[in-house]
């Protein structure tokens, strides 16, 4: 049984709390939030005690692991405390919007053997795991191109956008982690193009809502990501990986289990968002299982930093409207 202390009782924190409570081998031992009533409510729901003083978490023998789901600006300090305490840690992405701060904590961690994972949860989806395995098995030969599209169903709130770090750092970064992990090499160059088409609110916030990103791999493989903030027909995420011997294509999550054939045509339902709460649970389970079996946890902090390096280069590319070499 892994006993967790949870930092952050906001949207992500609440999902994690529920997942920990439901997990047969995990327990929610403590919750902290800067807004105390939020932490109290969550603690009540899931039968654990709110922590008055976050500092009390670190020495507590009754706490095995820490889950950091608080606001991004608190991540680095909490990660440092976690490294000092030696407690296994799962940290929501990103590490920090300031790359030098992120780099410094990754360096610190490198000198320890404290297990720290970063929350890129697409790695836990069965279809992505299957694609990765089948690429590694050589099923499609050398990878030549990747085409990925991801469109949210509805745009987030302005409040969310304002603290998100921008579209490329907030959302597209998932694919900056996913694609290298799938194909086994990391890009050398990125070119990002963006537009504000969904809602002028994004432009007001200095952000984009529609992105197209090209990644160039050392092998010569080319990858394309289309990423958007709204699709009226539901959540839409699909990938195809094309190689010398064939193509692997993810099938979108079944629209509906029932199709209707009517005079007006054939209809299936809308896409469900299988990339939401469910995928958080997958990563939690992988984390718990790794701790139990004393295997390394992943995605590692270094991988978290790698995705941020790509995201930063993408932001620079977007601003300068030119391809940018990625510094790792």
């Amino acid at each position: 049984m892994i006993r967790f202390a949870l930092f952050g009782a906001g949207r992500a924190g609440r999902i994690h709390a529920g997942n920990i409570a439901r997990h047969p081998r995990a327990e929610l031992a403590a919750v902290y939030d800067v807004v105390r009533p939020l932490a109290e409510r969550l603690a009540e729901q899931h039968g654990s005690c709110a922590v008055a003083d976050p500092g009390a978490v670190w020495p507590a023998a009754a706490i095995d692991a820490v889950l950091i789901a608080s606001s991004t600006d608190t991540h680095v300090d909490l990660l440092r405390a976690a490294l000092r305490s030696g407690k296994a840690t799962y940290c929501e992405k990103p590490i920090d919007f300031d790359l030098s701060r992120a780099r410094s904590v990754v360096s610190e961690a490198a000198g320890t053997d404290v297990p720290v994972a970063v929350g890129f949860r697409r790695r836990c989806l069965p279809e992505y795991q299957e694609i990765r395995r089948r690429i590694a098995d050589g099923e499609i030969g050398r990878v030549e191109t990747v085409r990925l599209v991801s469109r949210d169903h509805r745009p987030p709130s302005r409040a969310y956008v304002d603290v998100s770090g921008g579209f490329l750092r907030d959302k597209t970064i998932h694919y900056f982690d996913l694609i290298p992990w799938l194909v086994g090499e990391r890009p050398t160059e990125v070119h990002a193009a963006g537009s504000c088409l969904v809602d002028p609110m994004f432009a007001d916030a200095g952000d984009i809502d529609t992105a197209m990103v090209l990644l160039r791999m050392p092998s010569g493989a080319l990858c394309h990501i289309e990423n958007g903030r709204r699709a009226v027909y539901g959540f839409d995420e699909r990938i195809e990986v094309f190689g010398a011997k064939g193509m692997l294509q993810s099938r979108p999550p079944a629209l509906s289990s029932v199709a209707r054939f009517a005079a007006s045509g054939v209809r299936s339902g809308r896409y469900p968002d299988l990339y939401g709460a469910e995928s958080f649970a997958g990563l939690l389970d992988a984390f718990v299982s790794a701790l139990e079996s004393e295997q390394p946890v992943e995605p590692t902090l270094a991988e978290g930093l790698q995705a941020q390096n790509i995201a930063e280069a993408a932001v620079e590319s977007l601003r300068g409207n030119r391809p940018v070499t990625i510094a790792y």
Copy 2:
């Protein structure tokens, strides 16, 4: 170049006339219809002469083949004349609604080497030819079951129903020919159930509009046909053949080449009727090609009779509400 005389300038005759005219190695040399202006119009459209006297067709050296698309009650006399003249003949199904008359002309034909084909045109559809070939190649092992559904888009007129011979003899008979041809054995027993659900007009005419038919094969294989007169979403015909080593499933003709993903769901278009005029052309082409290469034509008259035998047993089964052994 095969020069055709066409008997019948009704709906089927007009389709055949157009197909003959378009065929690079066929020519419409003469048209006859009991309603002379119909024949004249068709002759004009396709650049051939209407025949004043049908008797003139048989001795004419400028006529290589005869296509019988006139009303069913004229088929047997025309077939007999064709057999006497020795001209290759393509006759629309059925041979005759009176089985003893049909049998007698089939016997006559058996004593000659005049090529006579009957118009079961599903045999010319590429998907059915592919399924037949793959079954014969042993791809799915021994055939165990067949499931076929066929639904017209819109019901025919009352006038058509009145001369059709009834649903099982008019429409379902196509599958009484198709299934034995696909799987390589002919049924020993049939059980037909029917309802009038689409339009009371069918019941008024003493007919049904919805049928379910079970066929039992000598091998023990079981076949099911669902056949209906109306589907609001368009023409719908699909088959699956299941065997010891797998299943072959026809894909319905592409609904539309474009799918629409909208807030209300995903939509494709309606089914086109790929089993209409196009399939007549396929059978004509097969007939012309067989004549040119001096290969046997098919479906043969004997096969035409076989399908009628099954249809008659099905009618008897429907009336008596009991399985009926098929007499060949």
Copy 3:
């Protein structure tokens, strides 16, 4: 929290035990099996005590509900004891192979308000619930035909076949429950045809392995069930319900989330069996939820008897090779 006593620690019993243990609002309080070590092992795995004397279950205040998953010949006695004790009961199908015994216990139950459910678990699958709701909502107008196919992946053992009651009573009965529930009327007549094609073992056991069953509804609707014991490509269950205004078609459970496009063609994976353990859990959850909210449980004993009545008529039809009117 509903505390269950489980009768039967065989295959079904083990699935139920696991589902009860995993259910957040259910608890496995006792297990009984005529083979005591089986019960002990299950009790150990799920942290409850094996019951020395089954009679102790009925008066026990610590037992809220009873789950009967023992062999069919024990069902009626256990149901009677349950009715006397007043404990809510979930009984695996069928009630009893002897229809008169089944009828008598259904009569007894009718005089009580003890909640008793029978295990036709397809009712709990989301696609069937969706189809039922959409039919009831009038989406496809009056139902005209139903086509259902169900093929197991691999045949069961001879031992299973010997106690199964025969294919129609063991497997096809699921659809004798499902179809009336879906379309809102029960059949008046059944005609069953069967073959032994998969394995001579079935014929040795006096059974069939391939069935085609026609059901006639009071409205004139016609239903067809194809049911088989083996499909090399995996479990295969699909339904389409056709009506005056369109068709609803269940989409088979996604073959695989990844498709492969290779030189040899496009491939998806095999069908998973989503109708196995998972569907047991659905019915358990529905049962627990109904008890908690004091709603009626279902399928009711009377519905369980209804499906058996259809199955018996189907057996009679198969033997006599003729349509049989169903007595309810």
Copy 4:
């Protein structure tokens, strides 16, 4: 009846000759090729006379239209002759690899009313026409993104590559014509990335075999083209156009009309190349129909030049690895 003189009896010329011969309202009146025996053979096959002197074509009253399928370096001179003669002309793309020569002949044409069409044949495919119409009808609202992938089945020969002008000018140019035509605006900027992954032969020839191209539209819409020279599973061309109110997605040409469900999985066949000879016929038919009805022909010479302008900017972008503003 439109009587054609055909220039060029190579691969494209042979396809055109066959299509003209099969067209009910077109006739192949003359064929010219610099390799005289090629022209003679084609003339013989299709029953027309090879032309000894190409100059004889222009004044010939028996020639209504000219089809230019000779090597690219001859196009401009032939176009000039055609403009002087006033004969309707269909010219294979591109106009000329030298943009200033292409521009000059387009200017000349602008001062005449001679109908001249350029062979971008994807415009004639029904799925693209449907997508264009549905976008114009507002079905998906404002267009936000386009994703197109096109992969040939097998790479062309080295000889072809050497005279092709390079991948972007030879193949990707089809989509530089298609996309603006579909969405109703022309790109302002292009960024092309390329690799040689399929065969080192392309690199030897100074060419690429795998391209990813980003187009930026005045409206802010972003378009992505993936284009490749080889796909082991067959020809692969698909598009999706995403907008504020939904998405239109072309369905790839049916893989096969029959699917096989085997123990090893579900298989459909390979993609056919529906973009080959058949699509040439579509454009010929559109050309003939436009001439007959005295409607303007299209794609116009100016549109042919527009696509070349994009292709040139793409080549410059590829060389400089930077986005390039397109000069029209």
